[in-house]
């Protein structure tokens, strides 16, 4: 909760810096504020406090996701802060507000807060996707993202309205309690509501068959904003999906799990096969994020005592690897603008540290041991096998095998293909970010208990 206040204050402060002439201290102030928010959120550990008449609840899972979001935000500011020169104050302000929305999305215990969190995050991202005003690709990405986003919001709201009519409550606990009781209205209406909300959230996490906006938006938006979308937006949407379906609709899991299975398998297949065909690096990562959304859905389908920890671990591993790869994409993009996989050619010689970080990130996304991506998949598949979803796991493993091809293509391009010989230098902040991200990817792979032990407590 204090994290939310700090983020909102940071956003307002950023808007004022232009008037007050404090632009120089904006970057350090943002870093300090984000670290302060992480500490403030950590202090609430174990208290399980409710705010706003129980509309938000900072339980331990919410705190872990908040910490992850703030960490991703911090890394994002370190990676991109220096490369944003135009409209710096607006960027900082809107992205702080977006982070605040993301925090609301992982802490909600009332559907009003879920809706507000999604909208605070989404509206900020519509603006950011179009932030390169004179570039056509950015315009197109912004409009597509906006149309798809508000369309799916309509579905979310219609679903919420139907569920409200059936259960008489917006509280997740109230809905869960009412589902057990006999209802005045037909059961079909409740199911329709759940499926509409499911559709909308699948839109938000870019799962099949509602993934078609993701490649265009990821490709068209500025590199820095794509990095934010692939990390923060993905964490918040997936965490909110899991939180809603485990807290409110957990008791009717049989009725929606089959639909979600089809969506998960479709996402894994379409995502991985689509990524194979792409030359543009950001477009490839967009399809890969569709595939990862499919893997994450496995945790929501299984909903047992392992799945919460497995999902958190998976999202953490995915976020670390995504941030690491975008750090390199943004750095290389500043030198060579076309953004194709071939633009990384010769990176092993041009900038060994960046090439090493990118290699670790790609290996982790592909799920190669001993990196954290391997254990993330292992825990997730293990949770699914406990519930006898063998065929789902088989599909996921098949998808992973396909994914190895395109992740290794990036590594091949960097380390084996010949490109320009011109060196790319790193700033001290970039060196720190790359080292921290690759260290965490390896550390969580060797000692997954560092994170997993937090969840059981």
């Amino acid at each position: 909760m204090n994290a939310l206040l700090i983020l909102s204050a940071l956003g307002i402060f950023a808007l004022l810096t232009d008037i007050l002439g404090l632009k120089k201290i904006l970057f350090p102030a943002s870093i300090v504020a984000l670290i302060g928010a992480m500490v403030a959120s950590g202090l609430e550990w174990g208290h399980h406090t409710s705010y706003f008449n129980g509309m938000m609840c900072t339980d331990n899972t919410a705190i872990l996701y908040t910490e992850l979001l703030l960490f991703a935000g911090l890394m994002w500011f370190l990676i991109c802060g220096s490369s944003i020169r135009e409209h710096q104050t607006e960027h900082y302000a809107i992205l702080s507000f977006a982070l605040a929305g993301a925090v609301v999305m992982v802490t909600f215990s009332n559907l009003v807060m879920l809706f507000l969190g999604i909208e605070i995050l989404s509206i900020s991202m519509y603006i950011m996707a179009g932030s390169q005003k004179d570039k056509y690709s950015s315009n197109e990405a912004a409009l597509k993202y906006f149309l798809m986003g508000s369309f799916s919001t309509g579905f979310l709201l219609f679903g919420i309205a139907l569920i409200y009519g059936c259960t008489g409550s917006f509280f997740t606990s109230g809905i869960a309690a009412a589902i057990q009781q006999p209802m005045t209205l037909p059961h079909g209406m409740l199911l329709a509501g759940v499926l509409l909300i499911l559709t909308s959230l699948v839109f938000k996490i870019a799962g099949f068959p509602f993934h078609f906006w993701a490649p265009d938006v990821y490709q068209g938006a500025p590199d820095t904003i794509t990095a934010f979308m692939a990390s923060v937006v993905k964490i918040a949407a997936t965490a909110a999906f899991f939180r809603l379906f485990s807290m409110a609709f957990g008791s009717m899991v049989q009725e929606w799990s089959f639909t979600l299975c089809l969506i998960a398998i479709g996402s894994m297949m379409i995502g991985n096969m689509g990524a194979v065909l792409q030359d543009n690096l950001k477009r490839m990562l967009a399809f890969s994020s569709v595939a990862h959304a499919g893997y994450m859905l496995i945790a929501i389908i299984t909903l047992n005592k392992f799945s919460e920890a497995a999902l958190l671990f998976y999202i953490t591993a995915y976020t670390l690897a995504t941030l690491a790869s975008f750090a390199i994409i943004i750095r290389v993009g500043q030198e060579n603008g076309n953004g194709d996989v071939s633009s990384l050619a010769g990176l092993g010689k041009r900038n060994p540290l960046a090439a090493a970080t990118m290699t670790i990130a790609m290996l982790s996304l592909a799920g190669i041991p001993p990196l954290s991506g391997f254990f993330a998949k292992y825990f997730l598949f293990n949770a699914a096998l406990q519930e006898n979803y063998t065929w789902l796991v088989l599909a996921a493993v098949a998808g992973t095998l396909i994914s190895v091809y395109y992740y290794f293509r990036v590594i091949h391009s960097m380390l084996i293909l010949k490109g320009s010989e011109e060196k790319i230098s790193n700033s001290p902040i970039q060196i720190i970010v790359m080292l921290v991200l690759s260290a965490l990817l390896i550390l969580l792979g060797i000692m997954p208990d560092l994170l997993l032990s937090r969840i059981g407590s």
């Binding site: 809706f115 509206i123 005003k133 690709s137 197109e140 597509k144 906006f146 309205a161 009519g165 209406m189």
Partner: protein, 105 residues
Amino acid sequence: MSAIQVVPISYYVWLSAILFSIGVMGVLFRRNVIIVFMCIELMLNAVNLLMVAFSSMLNDAAGQIFVFFIMAVAAAEVAVGLAILVMIFRNTKSVDIDFLNKLKR
């Protein structure tokens, strides 16, 4: 019994479902972006109607409060959407959705 409660609840559900579907069809089939915006608004207003009807059926104010949130957020969303549209119009001199195909290759 107030006037809104005289009509059976199922009428409201069907009316908003139909309005919502008209909105969805409009978003899917119309090519002019401004009309697509209006269709999205129609979807949201169908939801508002449904919320108010349920709120009155359940004698619970929460649904009506939610409607205020939806209205406020919809206004913010349209403000951003129209800004994006103006930006596109300046670059392409068109508000046709079929222009949005430059990113595929």
